[in-house]
Symmetry: C2
Subunit: 507 residues, 2 copies
Amino acid sequence: MKLTVKLLDIANRGVLLHSTDARSMRIRDGDRVLVADEATGKTAQAHVDTTGSLIAPGVIGVYRPLNATLAVDEGTPVEVRGAERPASLSHIKKKMDDGRFTKDETLDIVKDIVSDTLSPGEITAYVTASYINGLDMDEVEYLTRAMVETGERLHFIRHPVVDKHSIGGVPGNKITLLIAPIIAASGLLIPKTSSRAITGAGGTADLMEVLAPVSFSATEVQQMTEKVGGTIVWGGATNIAPADDKIITYEYPLRIDAPGQMIASVMAKKFAVGADLAVIDIPVGRNTKIATPQEGRKLARSFIELGERLGIRVECALSYGESLVGHTIGPNLEVHEALAVLEGATEPNSLIQKSLSLAGIAFEMAGKAAYGQGYQMATDILRSGKALEKMRQIIEVQGGDPTVKADDVVPGEYRFDVKAPQDGYVIDLNNSALVTLARLAGSPYDHGAGIFVHAKKGTRVRKGDPIFTIYAEQEWRLERAIEVGRVLMPVVVEGMIVERIPPERWV
Amino acid sequence: MKLTVKLLDIANRGVLLHSTDARSMRIRDGDRVLVADEATGKTAQAHVDTTGSLIAPGVIGVYRPLNATLAVDEGTPVEVRGAERPASLSHIKKKMDDGRFTKDETLDIVKDIVSDTLSPGEITAYVTASYINGLDMDEVEYLTRAMVETGERLHFIRHPVVDKHSIGGVPGNKITLLIAPIIAASGLLIPKTSSRAITGAGGTADLMEVLAPVSFSATEVQQMTEKVGGTIVWGGATNIAPADDKIITYEYPLRIDAPGQMIASVMAKKFAVGADLAVIDIPVGRNTKIATPQEGRKLARSFIELGERLGIRVECALSYGESLVGHTIGPNLEVHEALAVLEGATEPNSLIQKSLSLAGIAFEMAGKAAYGQGYQMATDILRSGKALEKMRQIIEVQGGDPTVKADDVVPGEYRFDVKAPQDGYVIDLNNSALVTLARLAGSPYDHGAGIFVHAKKGTRVRKGDPIFTIYAEQEWRLERAIEVGRVLMPVVVEGMIVERIPPERWV
């Protein structure tokens, strides 16, 4: 059916049809249509909403995201018809019946995810079936390659190209802000793409954004990396392995974190940026994603095997994940802490040691340092001030102010100290409760919001000592965080005798 | 955040927020919000679309289906905030991890499906996880009861109330148009709710609509049944077990037909209409839903067990499903065929025998006929004209014309005969290809479109004899069906010697 375009500013990949037109095409709400602009030859699929009055019969309302593909003007005639059922749905059904995806089937599915041909419900079915019935290593490899093929790639002339990744689950993990400049300062290339927070209080991209813009095209990432040796950008803006972001969107509401999918997502980004070697940080501990070292080792072996299949050398490090890294949660607080270390601070030990260890592994893998010498090399680069200098170059090439100092990056003006209710030891500090408070206080959107932890687990405190401070940019958000904090009680302070068991009384 | 309502005529359960408002609430496209009208106390959840220009900041665009719940006027102030993650998502995740649903969890999920609190993606995850990991009989019972509880129910004073159901998979299955009046004519009650075609060329509701309106409330169905003994209505209009229609919507694109879900859907409708006894027709054969009698018996046992748990006596009949029932596919053709039998036609045998057998089983279960005598009783009612008279009463009570005759119901004026290309036997007649042709010709929307099969499987034909005729109301639809029919070739005519295997030649 020939319809005339009316552009509608709605951020949703759909079209609006008059119900009369929909009926005559036998199309119901939620069905998929194919829209073709015969003048340009462009076609795109979208789901249908119907209306009885917002547009006239003969008109098709084209929402914004669809027009990113179609690029039609108001008044353009387009051909609209019911879309055929994509073959990828049969592949998904096969996985529901515990079948295995072939390489071609995987590519069909990933293409249809990237082009929005599959609906949210259908992508969820894919994610759910893959989670329940699992993906074997062949299928993980196909998925990785398909995610790479359906996006842009970087091609460096200089080698080796280094990458690192933390699989997450531990708060305050601002180590990339140290590792990237240390590695780049050694002469190695590190085009680091990072994520924004989904459930956390700040992803690395949210942190870096305090210092410089983070949204760049793949080409810009390559050029900047060639110029200064490293970048710290938001992966979501690059069109590198774009299927990944969409898959994560549909995993999130169901809290699905399927190992096969996760390994493929991580390695697709490494492969697409042209990494020769990658260091994977796997935080282990209760309340992280990986509860035991056994699980961590199993995951590590999968990363290494997939790396071998893709021609990327991978080493994994199991790290201590039960306590936050450093003392801070939230963009400005974390950036301040990391910059201070680059400027010469010798604390916090957890942050410095973790960053130097991972950078050191990369140096040894790249042949920059002999086995066992990488940590020292990383320490030397940090202490010499070269890492700070490199970080300033990275900030500058991304369009930020290279003269920024740690003390320029300050937390929000509203603050509240949570104090020890008695003398004793901090015997519990609940990471996920701290993250919840940081988010309630406004993090990561309000850069100044967050948490500073004064007394980590195991610390001796006296009654009235501050255990942690909540910061916010808006007073009402601080109040809400305080209110919820009273209920969540993320800290437990007890004497060393936690419970006294009296002798049984005589009857 | 307080926003002012603007009603938007879009048939989709969403709201439109200005992107500034969305950002300040930290709400992204596709997130769920809770909308509360403090004046009436009504609340509802919906997903968010955003716009930069269609509405002003401070305004919320409320789409039509949401307002069916909220019932607010243009300009009403409402409170809008990010909705909390529904508990049902955790239950769904549990099934993904191969857990079992409890009764309460099942009710949470079904309530959230009915209220549109779960998104299409989330309902798909539920359907997918239930399909892959299965539901045991306890879970099927919980689901059945939850589907009944979240909808309306009928309560008859007179008993027994009879119901019947065909699980589908065989085309031309217009038997309800005979069974319902035969049973009602005996004095038993049969409040029959039927479905429309999803993949087929006409559900019973589509057929009945040729003769009378089929959309009624539950109360109307009860009143009409009390008055004339039977009804044949569209279940989708009644709010009886409304979760079922939504679940089917999300199963359809993935061609999921999970046994547990299906049994629960069928029995929820029987339970909700207050049925005391039910006859379930299970067509068996290649290309139906149930390939072998073994599978059919297994399914039958599940129906019977669930019936026992619900206090409904169930008998199942495995029926021959490899050939269509009668000669016709498509609303007018099928209605003509059924009315002609009510008026006294002694053909087609497959339709008459199947209908009388199933009605006879119901008579024996209800104690109207001795064991082995039900078929004869059904035959007597049909032959006496009482079934025709009852059908006229049913048509009249539903608002149709009771004087209608078989010959008033005619197929579309455009027709095309598909003829035997040679002398031989019809050795194959592909049911699903016939259904595809009927749909291409316009069925079930165009009531006159469909297929008349002259020579069913096994029939001897001579070159040039018509094998089947395609009917359409619109010429272009007929042409499209013919074109596709040339490719699909739903009929194979061969001599009795299908392939000749010559002796091996000497070398």
